[in-house]
């Protein structure tokens, strides 16, 4: 009897037909960027625009293909060979390294806040804006202190990390290395 190989191709053919609006949205944004850059590229001199123009054309084709695959599951199924990990063959069982936990007590359950995506992005943006406008020496302790308080991190940990990072920033980067 022939053994059925477990391959990406067979898995691909059985993949449920789902639309992925997020990925399609990214393709649309990329297309908009390409359209925005096209007139700028055409205004450049012959030498400066040669490679960007080639890349814009190639990118537009790829993005259109990807958008078609995201919008129409039938196209994605047909182009399945491009969809999954391209370099993939049947798996052979190779013994994996095992994690060997010892008898030490596990850390207690989390009590701190789990952030939503928007909250995480807002904190990062605040830090980035603060560092570029007020400098890293001032922004770092303020950011870390506020973040740890807001995220309900244990006070001892919060103070420890904030102090270490503030000292590192001031004594090593600002004072010793002279990064101003």
């Amino acid at each position: 009897m022939i053994r059925r190989p477990s391959t990406s191709a067979t898995r691909e053919s059985r993949r449920p037909s789902v639309r992925r609006p997020g990925a399609f949205g990214i393709d649309l944004v990329l297309l908009a960027i390409i359209l925005l850059l096209l007139p700028q590229t055409l205004e450049l001199g012959a030498g400066a625009r040669r490679f960007p123009l080639i890349m814009l054309a190639v990118m537009a084709l790829l993005v259109l293909l990807d958008a078609a695959m995201e919008a129409f599951p039938a196209v994605r199924r047909r182009m399945g060979f491009l969809e999954a990990d391209f370099v993939e063959v049947a798996s052979l069982d190779v013994p994996e390294l095992q994690v060997q936990p010892d008898d030490l007590p596990a850390e207690s359950a989390r009590t701190f806040r789990v952030l939503t995506v928007w909250q995480a992005l807002a904190w990062l943006t605040a830090l980035g804006a603060g560092m570029s406008y007020f400098g890293y020496v001032v922004t770092t302790p303020v950011f870390l202190g506020l973040f740890f308080l807001w995220a309900r991190v244990p006070l001892r940990v919060a103070i420890g990390i904030t102090l270490v990072m503030t000292c590192l920033n001031y004594f090593v980067f600002y004072d010793f290395l002279g990064l101003r």
Partner: protein
């Protein structure tokens, strides 16, 4: 050559010079562990301190720093998914998943051992080809560099996890980012939108920090997924893991040698450098594996391949740097500047009058690689717990260090904003199935490829890509790399259809 070696050993054991490799290694480890502050930045900071030193002492210290930074960059890549420098970016593909699976010490010990083996291999090749290096380098010209760059990016997209089309789009995005700023040949400003800051171009280190460090830190905050039972491992468990790492290195000698050879070869090609070498070695290990789907999920072979190539490239990069004055990577460009500061001209003069300096660089690299391996093995039990800290502790620290790393590139606040935007972009793209690796490779290769294309068209014409033996061979290799997996898939699809038919026949009976 033997006189040069003798002089180098004499200098090493004169006064306190034998302490310089130790000092350089420690400095390298500290600098390399800071995202964005790689060996190039570290050596640039050291050059002013060495103004009054003898050139031999200065280059012994600098070479030792290179060895230290290479390994330290892998520590942060493995533990916090933040490569210390771009050439460690391939290490995090499997190193970080290993750390998340509770195998941080194994990954660190693999990195330490493979780094040492790779470095020794690269330097051995350098010593062997030193006499014929000049003739060899002159064979590689613009068409070869262009073809190697394009085929290299294509292969990176091939081996990326997920969709090939998305991998190629990511690579194209990297190329597009590299176009921002003044054109290298015509000097015209491109895609700057009137901004003076963008006229200098976007630094790929800022993008790299954002894509890898910041996007992962965001993910750590919103998807805290470290299993509680893996939080703490005792010292014995760590040493067991280190033993596992040693066994992995002994189990895959072919990958170790193959990756070291790739690293050395990539190092030889001027301007291609370390990032490409580790990704190419990773790709080759994945391509030649019987179970490539395990790569990217915490496969120790991924760490082995990328780290061996990363350290082997330094031996290769020495060849064009000292023989022709063409740096193999950014760090060697800084070393080249240091040569000039100390009044040493690379090329014929370097290989005849200053051969002792060349051998001191080799000694510095060798000693520091052995020292970092020892430090790496000894320190991994202390370092590994970093990987298991809750995201809410680690992420804000990564945010600060990463943005500070971006600022240190050129002390421009704009780089902080670029890194921040790249972090958000990386997080969004990764969530939608895009691989981030081709973006960085595209950015690194973009300028090299564009310059080579322009120079080929101006001097040799478009047919040069197909008439020169090296570029034609690389093109054929690229075609083979694309068609082999396709043929394999087709064959396995036929096999599954045949199996379906047999099953149907059996059911009908």
């Amino acid at each position: 050559v033997i006189d040069g070696m003798q002089d180098a050993f004499q200098t090493l054991f004169t006064g306190n010079n034998y302490l310089l490799p130790l000092l350089g290694t420690v400095l390298g480890l500290i600098i390399g562990a800071m995202p964005g502050l790689g060996p190039a930045a570290g050596i640039a900071l050291i050059i002013p301190i060495t103004y009054g030193w003898e050139p031999e002492e200065a280059f012994l210290l600098m070479a030792s720093m290179i060895g230290g930074t290479s390994f330290a960059g892998s520590i942060t890549a493995i533990l916090v998914n933040t490569p210390g420098e771009s050439s460690n970016a391939a290490t995090l593909l499997d190193g970080y998943p290993m750390a998340k699976n509770g195998q941080a010490s194994t990954a660190l010990s693999i990195s330490a051992i493979s780094s040492a083996v790779g470095a020794i291999f690269g330097l051995a090749v350098f010593i062997a080809v030193l006499p014929v290096s000049r003739a060899m380098i002159l064979k590689i010209s613009y068409p070869e560099t262009f073809v190697i760059g394009v085929v290299g990016l294509f292969i990176i997209a091939l081996i990326s996890r997920g969709s090939l089309v998305k991998g190629l789009i990511a690579g194209g995005l990297g190329f597009m980012l590299s176009f921002v700023g003044r054109d290298l040949i015509t000097g015209e400003a491109r895609y700057t939108f009137g901004s003076l800051f963008l006229e200098d171009g976007i630094d790929y280190i800022a993008i790299l920090i954002g894509l890898f460090a910041l996007s992962e830190a965001i993910a750590l905050l919103v998807e805290p997924d470290v299993p509680a039972e893996q939080r703490k491992l005792g010292l014995r468990a760590h040493w067991r893991q280190i033993g596992d790492g040693v066994r992995v290195c002994r189990r895959y000698p072919r990958i170790l040698l193959q990756s070291s050879a790739i690293g050395t070869l990539c190092g030889i090609i001027p301007g291609v450098g370390g990032s490409v070498s580790s990704f190419m070695a990773y790709a080759a290990a994945k391509q030649s594996a019987k179970d490539p789907e395990k790569f990217g999920t915490g496969d120790p072979r991924g760490v082995l391949a990328s780290e061996a190539a990363n350290d082997a490239k330094d031996g290769g990069a020495l060849i064009p740097t000292v023989a022709l004055g063409l740096p193999g990577s950014p760090v060697w460009a800084v070393i080249l500047g240091a040569f000039l500061v100390h009044g040493i001209a690379p090329g014929q003069e370097m290989l005849t009058q200053h051969l002792d300096v060349v051998f001191l660089i080799i000694l510095g690299l060798l000693i520091s690689n052995v020292l970092t391996s020892v430090f790496g093995l000894a320190l991994s039990p202390m370092l590994a717990p970093i990987a298991k800290m809750p995201g809410v502790y680690v992420s804000p620290v990564i945010f600060v260090i990463a943005l500070l790393g971006a600022y240190t590139i050129g002390l421009r606040p704009g780089d902080i904003i670029i890194a921040m935007l790249a972090g958000i972009l990386g997080f969004v793209l990764k969530r939608q199935g895009f691989s981030l690796v081709p973006i960085v490779i595209g950015m690194i290769l973009g300028q090299i490829v564009e310059r080579s294309l322009g120079q080929t068209m101006l001097t040799l014409g478009p047919t040069a890509f197909f008439t020169r033996p090296i570029s034609l061979s690389v093109l054929l290799l690229g075609a083979l790399a694309f068609s082999l997996p396709l043929l394999r898939k087709r064959r396995s699809k036929r096999g599954s259809r045949a199996a379906d038919r047999v099953e149907k026949d059996e059911a009908a009976r």
